[in-house]
């Protein structure tokens, strides 16, 4: 739905702000040579274009009328030479402008992408992904278009108009004046048309994305549609959308069809005037027949640059709005950065302490309130509690995806704000609830944990994680493609690979958000096994759902409303008969029910007790 965000915030008339222009100029600065080359080439081309008309005039006046064949050959030789020069010019401006366009696009995207890597997690949690995507893909496109073809077309149009005008004035200034009067009228009409066409065009794109969304929903929900017999009504609803699309799309096409003829009519009037007045002048010998022909050509040609200018202007409105959004993204400051004197330390092996930690998003209610606990090195902590209680936030704080609003988090005795982000994040291994894989092979995905890992190291990690077995069963083994976002693998497989990835990174601290979705029993056992491997010899934080994980933890923290409601080991908490007791018994029933599968999915399930 990228178009949705794209169109949503566009106004019809975006005022051009000077500082945006300044920054656009800055964007161009590294490419000034290609730009200059392109502009020079187009200037030459447009100068020569205008000169062709002069040449045609001379062919008539100095060649045909005086019956001078030698002169004609001479003029056409010049003509041929100019064609060749123009061809070189055309090659240069197309090549240079295109090249510059690609470079600007490349630069902007690179800049945006690199900047995005620095922004904090909080930015991504509040900004829709589609919005960011549109900035990087379509907005940069529009900016590049303006900064290349926008400039080239404007140059061409301006030079043509100016040169043609000069030539017209040198041929006959009175006739030239007639043309000069019609120019602003044409320009005004062209501009009005362009802006209107754009307006409807944009409406049609909006209507189109609504239409596609509606169709998408109807296909995804086809079962409901059929069951509830909504076909007729849905068609009616869709017709409203498709009619809106038809209206704006047809309107844009209608205006486009009307556009050029209107401009032509305006020019027709000045043409009529010129032939009439010019005819009289021919009588008086004030203008030659060739000269009159030149005027006719100029009038018929000058339509194009004027239309070009109108188009560039309308494009510019859009491109400036795009630029503003791109620049605003680039101006977004990362919420979390290294402190000036941030240290690198080789290892995070040491106790972890939260001391009076509170956290809130901007002005909201605190999600974590005055949290304090101390975990000795090598121990495991299970975080349990209801959804929205703050478990994930605690983990995010530990990874320094967020920073405490109040209080201190110490790792190995050091306030972690004094450490560099790189130190903290490279020493923490994270396995997420919905494991995220990148498209590519399994090998590449595991290697993500340690970029210079050998194939043996990767296989060892996979073996430890219990993933080796299923990987080797794939046709291409470790080189099996996982698909976009890993969607060719099952959830359990993705989880095993992300465990292998974490093992490979040999972290000092291990953080895991256990999946709630059930996987088959065998995979489940493998995951448990892999987790245990990861937990030995390092401090671990698990957002836990499974009983075995919870029971095995050295310490259980029950988190409710951003606070520790209960804390201790399994036995201690059971005796309290409080939140933990209730959570535990409910989960106990649920797990056992799944485990005691009566349908024979697991052969020996009934022996579990």
């Amino acid at each position: 739905m990228s178009t949705y965000y794209d169109e949503n915030e566009l106004d019809d008339n975006v005022p051009v702000k000077t500082n945006v222009l300044k920054r656009l100029v800055n964007t161009l600065r590294p490419h000034w040579k290609t730009l200059l080359g392109g502009v020079l080439a187009i200037v030459v081309v447009s100068l020569l274009d205008a000169y062709f008309t002069i040449l045609s005039k001379r062919i008539i006046d100095e060649g045909i009328i005086p019956q001078n064949k030698a002169a004609i050959l001479h003029f056409f030789t010049i003509y041929g030479a100019i064609v060749l020069i123009q061809a070189v010019g055309a090659f240069l401006f197309i090549f240079l402008a295109g090249l510059q366009g690609e470079r600007v696009r490349y630069d902007l995207r690179k800049q945006l992408f690199n900047h995005l890597q620095e922004l904090s997690l909080s930015y991504f949690s509040k900004t829709p992904l589609g919005w960011i995507m549109s900035r990087v893909t379509s907005d940069t496109e529009k900016m590049a278009e303006l900064l290349t073809w926008g400039i080239i077309d404007t140059t061409y149009a301006l030079v043509s108009i100016i040169v043609s005008s000069v030539f017209m004035f040198t041929i006959n200034w009175q006739l030239a004046l007639i043309v000069m009067f019609s120019l602003p009228v044409m320009a005004y009409a062209a501009l009005k048309f362009r802006v209107r066409i754009y307006h409807h065009y944009r409406l049609s794109r909006k209507a189109n994305s609504k239409m596609t969304a509606s169709l998408n929903e109807n296909i995804t929900g086809v079962r409901v549609v059929k069951a509830l017999r909504r076909e007729d009504r849905n068609l009616q609803d869709f017709k409203v959308l498709s009619s809106a699309m038809y209206r704006s799309s047809y309107r844009a096409a209608y205006l486009s069809a009307l556009f050029q003829p209107t401009i032509q009519m305006i020019s027709a009037i000045s043409l009529g005037l010129i032939l009439w007045r010019g005819g009289i002048k021919v009588e008086l010998g004030l203008i030659t027949i060739g000269g009159l022909q030149a005027f006719v050509s100029y009038i018929m040609m000058i339509l194009w640059p004027i239309q070009d200018l109108a188009r560039v202007y309308a494009d510019m409105q859009n491109a400036v709005a795009s630029s503003e959004r791109v620049f605003s993204l680039l101006d977004t400051q990362p919420g979390i950065t290294n402190r000036p004197a941030a240290r690198e330390i080789p290892s995070l092996a040491g106790d972890i302490a939260f001391e009076g930690v509170s956290f809130r998003y901007e002005d909201d209610e605190p999600v974590i309130r005055n949290l304090s606990f101390h975990i000795p090195y090598g121990q495991s902590v299970a975080l349990v509690g209801p959804t929205g209680g703050g478990k994930t936030t605690i983990v995010n704080l530990l990874c320094r995806f967020y920073e405490p609003t109040e209080g201190v988090i110490r790792i190995a005795g050091v306030d972690y704000m004094d450490l560099s982000l790189q130190t903290i994040q490279s020493r923490i291994g994270v396995v997420l609830q919905t494991p995220h894989l990148f498209s590519g092979s399994i090998r590449e995905n595991i290697r993500y944990g340690k970029l210079d890992a050998t194939d043996e190291e990767i296989e060892d990690a996979a073996k430890l994680a219990g993933a080796h077995n299923f990987i080797t069963h794939f046709e291409h083994g470790y080189d099996q493609n996982v698909g976009e976002g890993g969607n060719l693998l099952s959830v359990g497989q993705k989880q095993l690979i992300s465990i292998a990835r974490a093992i490979l990174s040999t972290p000092d601290i291990f953080v895991m958000d256990e999946a709630t979705s059930s996987v088959d029993t065998l995979t489940e056992a493998l995951i448990q096994n892999g987790m245990e491997k990861l937990m030995t010899g390092r401090t671990s934080f698990i957002i836990a759902h499974r009983l075995s994980t919870i029971k095995n933890a050295n310490r259980i923290l029950v988190i409710r409303d951003g606070q520790i409601a209960e804390s201790g080991n399994h036995n201690e908490l059971m005796l309290l008969k409080g939140h933990y007791y209730r959570l535990y018994t409910q989960q106990f029933r649920y797990e056992l029910e799944t485990k005691l599968d009566p349908y024979g999915e697991v052969p020996n399930a009934t022996d579990a007790i």
């Binding site: 696009r105 992904l129 995804t220 509830l228 017999r229 007729d232 027949i289 995220h436 976002g485």
Partner: protein, 609 residues
């Protein structure tokens, strides 16, 4: 019940389109109802081209008969007016041609979009189970758009180039036949070069677009996996990876650009060579008195329009082949037969009673791979049948037969003693309510979701009453916009249990005689589970109910329990009966007691420690 649809546009016979022998015929039939418009558009186009040629011929006449013969009186003024008139004709007919083509294109594609939308939602379940949503969307949106552009721009474009060519060539023939024949020497060369070029260009452009898709995916994966990137501190790696993709796009763009920058100047030179040759010849002829000066001036104008448009013909021809590909993709969908919704003879006006009887029913999605085998049972009206079994044992396939989402392969199902296949699907579905475990909701307001598929007027009180009974009213009232709260991306995300209760409220309002319930409850908290259970109880009152269950609690009171295994009924009876016999049912039942015991043991163990 079926509202007569207002016909806002002439009907389209999709069968005729599908049955067309070749693509162009199919396209022509797609425009049925607008053939007049389209032919008129072509006629206008010819008039416009003729008028333009007329301007140049008139210019020649003007030079020869007005300027050179010195008729500077009213004849001069009249001639000038004549020019204006010709331009007026050219502009007006040009406008009409474009407008009519646009109208044809927009109208016939709107009709096609509506048709496809409706067709897709009426395709059978079997089709939807196989089809990919993205692919269907593509066909109904971008392929249709390709056709729209073909009708409005490309087909008309080809006609325009040909019309201009014929008219200008004829006009030049009138001036001098030898000149005319010499002037078209280059045309086959230009045509071949341009077709070859645009074919290559279109490939290069595809490669460029593919890389754009790669960049998009890369960016999207990076953004959605931001936590992984940060957790492994892999920013530098990500930047490098993106840069490589970005640079590849730059390189492909550069190649594309190089092609452009070579083609245009080279074709310029080719065209110019023809221009120069013909012009020299014409100038010499004018000097030798073979043609007049006016003829020469007409000729130069006509010649330009004879040669330059040919360059674009290559692009238009390449685009045509693309349009034919899109057309095939669209007709492939149209060719698939719809589910006949109204076919069937038995339509009891007072509704069905709801007694259902399965007689030796077998069903297979694919030939020889039955998912249901020899199913026979009977359910009197108003009773509850529970279906128990593991995933894939055939429960869902069985209930899919009731609303005739699929028809039986063997045997028959009787509703009130009448074969199900005698009831029209639409009628049958009006008698059956379905509540899925996690129903699909549409991205409209909660109110619209509750009243989805209800044809009568429903008051707010009624809606709220149903919502209360479904235990969802309080949840809805907690949202800022209450019943107007939007569901989905732009509104709130409802949990699976909440969605289910919305569907329950809807089904209460529909008040069907037969109910299908999917109650394989996932892990929801206890409070919610109680609420859902109560809501379901309310719903089952006085209806024939088919309930799919994974657990026993929800089905103990069923009148008939069917235990499924691999498509067959392995046990059937009431709870009391089944509990007496050894088998799956009893073991499931016993698990519950065993869980209670195990839990008690567990708790005791803690106390001992």
């Amino acid at each position: 019940m079926m509202k007569k649809q207002q016909k806002k546009y002439p009907a389209l016979d999709p069968q005729a389109v599908v049955a067309s022998k070749n693509g162009l015929t199919a396209l022509w039939r797609l425009m049925s109802g607008y053939h007049g418009h389209y032919l008129l558009s072509a006629l206008m186009l010819a008039i416009s081209a003729t008028a333009r040629a007329g301007i140049y011929i008139f210019l020649g006449w003007f030079v020869d008969h007005i300027l050179k013969e010195g008729r500077f009186g009213s004849e001069l003024l009249l001639s000038a007016a004549g020019f204006v008139c010709l331009i007026l004709v050219q502009a007006t007919s040009g406008f009409l041609s474009n407008q009519l083509a646009a109208q044809t294109a927009e109208s016939s594609t709107r009709r096609l979009r509506d048709l496809l939308f409706d067709h897709i939602q009426r395709l059978s379940f079997a089709y939807h189970a196989e089809a990919k949503t993205g692919d269907l969307l593509e066909r109904a949106s971008s392929d249709v758009d390709t056709l729209r552009r073909f009708i409005s721009d490309q087909a008309i474009g080809v006609a325009r180039v040909i019309a201009i060519f014929i008219i200008n060539f004829t006009a030049i023939m009138q001036i001098n036949a030898r000149l005319a024949l010499v002037s078209i020497i280059i045309i086959p060369v230009i045509l071949v070069v341009s077709i070859l070029f645009f074919r290559k260009l279109s490939k290069a452009y595809e490669a460029y677009q593919e890389q754009e898709a790669v960049i998009s995916t890369n960016l999207q994966e990076n953004l959605s996996g931001v936590r992984v990137v940060k957790a492994f501190a892999r920013q530098a790696y990500e930047i490098e990876k993106f840069d490589a993709n970005n640079f590849e796009k730059y390189k492909r763009g550069r190649k594309l650009n190089l092609m452009h920058s070579l083609f245009w100047p080279v074709s310029d030179i080719l065209c110019a060579a023809q221009m120069i040759g013909s012009n020299i010849m014409a100038a010499f002829m004018a000097i030798d008195g073979v043609i007049t000066l006016g003829n020469y001036m007409s000729f130069t104008g006509l010649l330009g329009w004879l040669i330059w448009p040919i360059r674009n013909l290559g692009r238009l021809i390449v685009d045509t082949s693309r349009a034919l590909v899109s057309l095939k993709r669209v007709t492939d969908v149209l060719r698939v037969a719809q589910e006949p919704l109204l076919e069937g003879t038995h339509v009891p006006e007072q509704g069905v009673a709801g007694s259902i009887r399965f007689e030796h029913v077998s069903f297979a999605y694919e030939k020889d791979r039955p998912v249901l085998e020899d199913i026979s049972f009977e359910c009197p009206a108003g009773q509850i049948v529970a279906l128990l079994g593991s995933t894939g044992s055939g429960k869902t396939s069985l209930v899919n037969l009731l609303p005739r989402f699929y028809d039986v392969t063997e045997g028959k199902i009787l509703l009130d003693g009448v074969d199900l296949r005698d009831y029209p699907r639409h009628y049958l579905r009006s008698q059956i309510g379905i509540v899925e475990q996690e129903p699909f909701l549409f991205s409209c307001s909660i109110r619209d979701n509750i009243t989805y598929g209800i044809t009568r007027e429903v008051s707010q009180e009624e809606i709220e009453q149903a919502a209360r009974e479904a235990a969802i009213h309080d949840v809805i009232m907690e949202f800022a916009n209450g019943y107007d709260t939007l569901v989905g991306e732009r509104g709130v995300t409802l949990s699976g249990g909440q969605k289910q209760r919305v569907a329950i409220a809807r089904t209460l309002l529909i008040n069907p005689r037969i109910l299908i319930l999917d109650d394989s409850t996932s892990s929801v908290d206890m409070e919610t589970e109680v609420q859902i259970r109560q809501a379901l109880q309310a719903l089952m009152q006085n209806r024939t109910t088919f309930i799919i269950a994974h657990r026993i609690q929800s089905i103990m009171s069923a009148d008939l329990i069917l235990v499924f295994d691999q498509g067959k009924i392995v046990q059937s009876g009431t709870h009391d009966e089944l509990i007496q016999q050894p088998g799956i049912y009893r073991s499931i039942y016993e698990i519950q007691t065993r869980i209670d015991n195990a839990l008690q043991e567990e708790i005791d163990r803690v106390h001992v420690l």
